[in-house]
């Protein structure tokens, strides 16, 4: 019998206070038909108690490690127990725990069905989020609850994800059976689940409840954030939920094609190592990806490149850690997926505006996309299109509901793609131009025009290409305050030019390989290894 296997023995937790758990278990020992394994019962009871006691450390390991472990052991073939069973096990006193448990429960449902959960489950999950947020938002005083950062981020992120999934579901009639069609009609008529206004309302309420923007501004101006916060803003829970909601709200407008609003939402988040987003890897990756993507859509290719490269570097550095985590987790591999997407986007940005980037990223990029990039350099617009579609997020149209006929969930993507390509078409001459400029130190404009098969009548139009090139390289379109990433005084482009009357004067910058940096890194590494070796006791 598994009844002796207590939950603690599996996590190696030293918690000695088992009396409570034992008592809870006794209630079920006689019940031989009980389908829930004892270990899971113990887990739930203990989990509920830790939530009550606000033991964040324990909650983290219960959430992050024990849950996936138990899923693997008991719930690969079937679902976790539903709420009534769980209520029977832990008692109905801890309402918040039940809501939080359901949050995990529905997330599992979403993660497991490749075709997505049923409409009923989508609806119920929304209701559960609404319960959770109204519990937090309508309380007269701050709710007593402590959650680990990663869970808070996951809540916000999953909430936005499920909204996204619902929009795609609405636009795709092929995902439904007839009964669900009726159900969807009634949901749409009553406007009571996953409407864009509801979702935005909840996220914005979390912002205002926590005074997160005011507090972040205060922190940036080196004032005490507590001076602008009320009891809710002072609460760790609300502060962090507000903070993560900002990033959730960055994602929402991007999915709707609203890039200016997206960047405005996170303008108070400083990108530095002290930011809260650093504590949750998926949050860091999401933040950089969506900021970078917004810049790319606003034609700030240089800025986008910086964000992508920084994020890729972070993922590379922490890769071994992430894969360990991934094995345990049943969740969608956000980091791995985003990693691939960012290379496609980086290929686009660098083709239009080449800049020098970190060597490890450059070599990976070459490995993955060098063929595509050389075709991009020849001005093949289809290559840009393919890279865009591989790298972009899943765009939405929140108002599209399709009851029969074809799947229309791809429409918003096509729109964004088209808008992007129209911009690229205006700039498609740039890589070609670059190819010519590389070969000269000075070149008469007329001669370049003849290389590009431009006749005299179109000479002025041809000059437009040179003007566009300089406009892009000088980032004239940029009016958004750039990130805190500092430029060194080295020019970023390897090729630049100016026009003196009818002569193009070209300057190229050659950068020597950074040998010193390489050695310094390896000396430090070797030092570490030697230190480690010294500490190993070798017995003869």
């Amino acid at each position: 019998m598994s009844r002796h296997a207590t939950f603690e023995s599996h996590t190696g937790d030293p918690e000695k206070d088992l009396a409570f758990e034992k008592e809870a278990r006794k209630r079920y020992i006689s019940d031989m038909d009980d389908p829930v394994p004892h270990e899971v019962q113990d887990y739930l009871v203990y989990f509920s108690r830790m939530i009550e006691e606000e033991n964040v450390g324990e909650i983290l390991s219960l959430y992050d490690q024990a849950f996936p472990e138990l899923t693997e052991r008991y719930f690969l073939e079937r679902m976790w127990p539903d709420e009534t069973i769980v209520e029977n096990i832990v008692g109905s006193g801890n309402r918040l725990f039940i809501i939080l448990y359901k949050e995990l429960y529905y997330r599992q449902l979403y993660a497991r069905n490749s075709r997505g959960p049923s409409l009923t489950h989508r609806y119920e999950s929304f209701m559960n989020y609404q319960d959770l947020f109204s519990e937090l938002l309508s309380s007269k005083e701050p709710v007593v609850l402590s959650l680990p950062n990663v869970w808070m981020w996951d809540i916000v992120d999953e909430f936005v994800y499920q909204f996204q999934a619902f929009c795609l579901y609405k636009a795709n009639p092929q995902k439904r059976n007839p009964a669900e069609v009726d159900e969807l009609i009634s949901i749409e008529e009553n406007q009571n689940a996953w409407k864009i206004y509801q979702v935005l309302n909840i996220l914005y309420s979390l912002l205002s409840k926590s005074q997160i923007n005011e507090q972040l501004i205060a922190i940036r101006e080196k004032r005490n954030p507590d001076s602008v916060a009320d009891e809710f803003g002072l609460s760790d829970l609300y502060f962090k939920l507000g903070y993560f909601s900002l990033i959730g709200l960055l994602r929402t407008p991007v999915l709707l094609g609203d890039y200016h609003q997206a960047l405005k939402t996170v303008e108070n988040i400083d990108l530095d190592p002290k930011g809260l987003y650093n504590t949750v890897p998926t949050c860091l990756v999401t933040l950089h990806y969506f900021i970078g993507f917004s810049h790319m859509m606003m034609r700030n290719y240089g800025e986008a490149t910086k964000h992508f490269v920084n994020c890729l570097l972070f993922i590379l550095r922490t890769k071994s850690l992430q894969t360990q985590q991934q094995k345990k987790n049943f969740q969608y591999d956000v980091i791995g997926k985003t990693f691939d997407q960012m290379f496609h986007l980086l290929a686009i940005c660098l083709s239009i505006q080449p800049v020098r980037i970190d060597e490890s990223i450059a070599s990976q990029l070459a490995e993955r996309c060098s063929d595509r990039m050389s075709r991009m350099a020849n001005g093949e617009i289809d290559e840009y299109k393919a890279a865009f579609q591989l790298g972009c997020p899943k765009f939405l149209s929140p108002t599209t509901v399709v009851y029969e006929g074809n799947n229309q969930s791809k429409e918003p993507l096509l729109r964004q793609c088209q808008a992007f390509l129209e911009g690229i078409e205006s700039q498609i001459a740039l890589p070609i131009l670059r190819g010519y400029l590389k070969l000269y130190t000075s070149l008469p404009t007329k001669k370049l025009a003849s290389f590009m098969d431009v006749d005299d009548a179109n000479y002025d139009s041809f000059l437009g290409k040179l003007l566009t090139y300089k406009m892009i390289v000088n980032e004239l379109g940029k009016d958004y305050q750039g990130s805190a990433i500092q430029d060194d005084d080295e020019p970023n482009t390897d090729i630049d030019f100016y026009v003196d009357k009818d002569m193009i004067c070209i300057a190229d910058t050659k950068i020597a390989r950074r040998v010193g940096e390489h050695f310094i890194r390896h000396i430090l590494k070797l030092n570490d290894v030697q230190k480690m070796l010294k500490n190993i006791d070798v017995k003869p």
């Binding site: 206004y197 709707l256 108002t399 129209e422 001459a429 100016y498 950068i511 430090l524």
Partner: protein
């Protein structure tokens, strides 16, 4: 009501989640008209109304979207036009009128000032074949003239890109890029952007790019701070003899 009054009221009304309040559409539309008439600009208001059209398709007003897109073209090289395009749905873009604005946008985004002025002056010759991109070229100047200050905005845009591209520019070329600007007009732009007339006025000196755009070879420099960690990790500190 004037643009400034409307703007002041609206900025209050579109803060935070209220940005998505469909009840603002009427006021926002008024404000866009005021912007067009008074040659003023406010990015947030323009993008907000597009957003509301997107979320509330029943309120969609194509003529207003056209105005918004044209207004965003006036602030090139800013990316506002690109942003506005992303907020307009595919199924709306089929109409001839909207298509015309987008075509104009493509011309301007690729800095083809020559073509733009040909269209404005009615000297553009349609090739007549099926691939001809610009249908009914006569419609473009009609559309543009209804927007106060549009041509002037494009001249400023041209000046800005010329400023970063040219060191010296021949006066004839400058005049052509500015849509046939006369000497006095060019002198005014030159003053505004700090250009100097040279060689008896046949050339404008724009900026000394030669000083900043140079061929360079950059060698790696190792700063003391780069090796500080290594020095620190040398185990035994040096001692001086007593």
């Amino acid at each position: 009501m004037s643009f400034e009054t409307l703007r002041a009221q609206l900025h209050e009304a579109i803060q935070g989640v209220n940005r998505y309040n469909p009840e603002n559409v009427t006021e926002l539309a008024k404000c866009v008209h005021a912007m067009v008439a008074e040659n003023k600009y406010d990015k947030d208001i323009l993008l907000t109304i597009l957003k509301l059209y997107q979320l509330n398709p029943d309120k969609f007003d194509e003529s207003l979207v056209r105005l918004v897109l044209l207004k965003t073209l006036m602030v090139l090289p800013s990316s506002d036009f690109a942003l506005a395009k992303c907020l307009t749905d595919t199924n709306r873009l089929g109409s001839q009128e909207l298509k015309r604005v987008l075509d104009l946008g493509a011309i301007l985004e690729s800095c083809d000032f020559s073509l733009f002025w040909q269209l404005m002056k009615g000297t553009y010759k349609s090739s007549g074949d099926a691939n001809e991109k610009i249908k009914q070229p006569a419609e473009i100047p009609k559309m543009v003239k209804s927007i106060a200050g549009f041509e002037e905005a494009i001249r400023i845009y041209a000046c800005r890109v010329i400023h970063v591209t040219f060191q010296n520019i021949e006066k004839d070329l400058l005049s052509r890029l500015l849509g046939g600007a006369n000497d006095a007009e060019m002198a005014a732009y030159a003053k505004r952007f700090g250009w100097e007339s040279r060689d008896n006025g046949s050339v404008y000196f724009i900026a000394n790019h030669e000083a900043t755009i140079r061929t360079r070879n950059i060698d790696e420099k190792i700063q003391f701070s780069n090796v500080a960690d290594i020095l620190r990790s040398i185990s035994k500190p040096l001692t001086t003899r007593e």
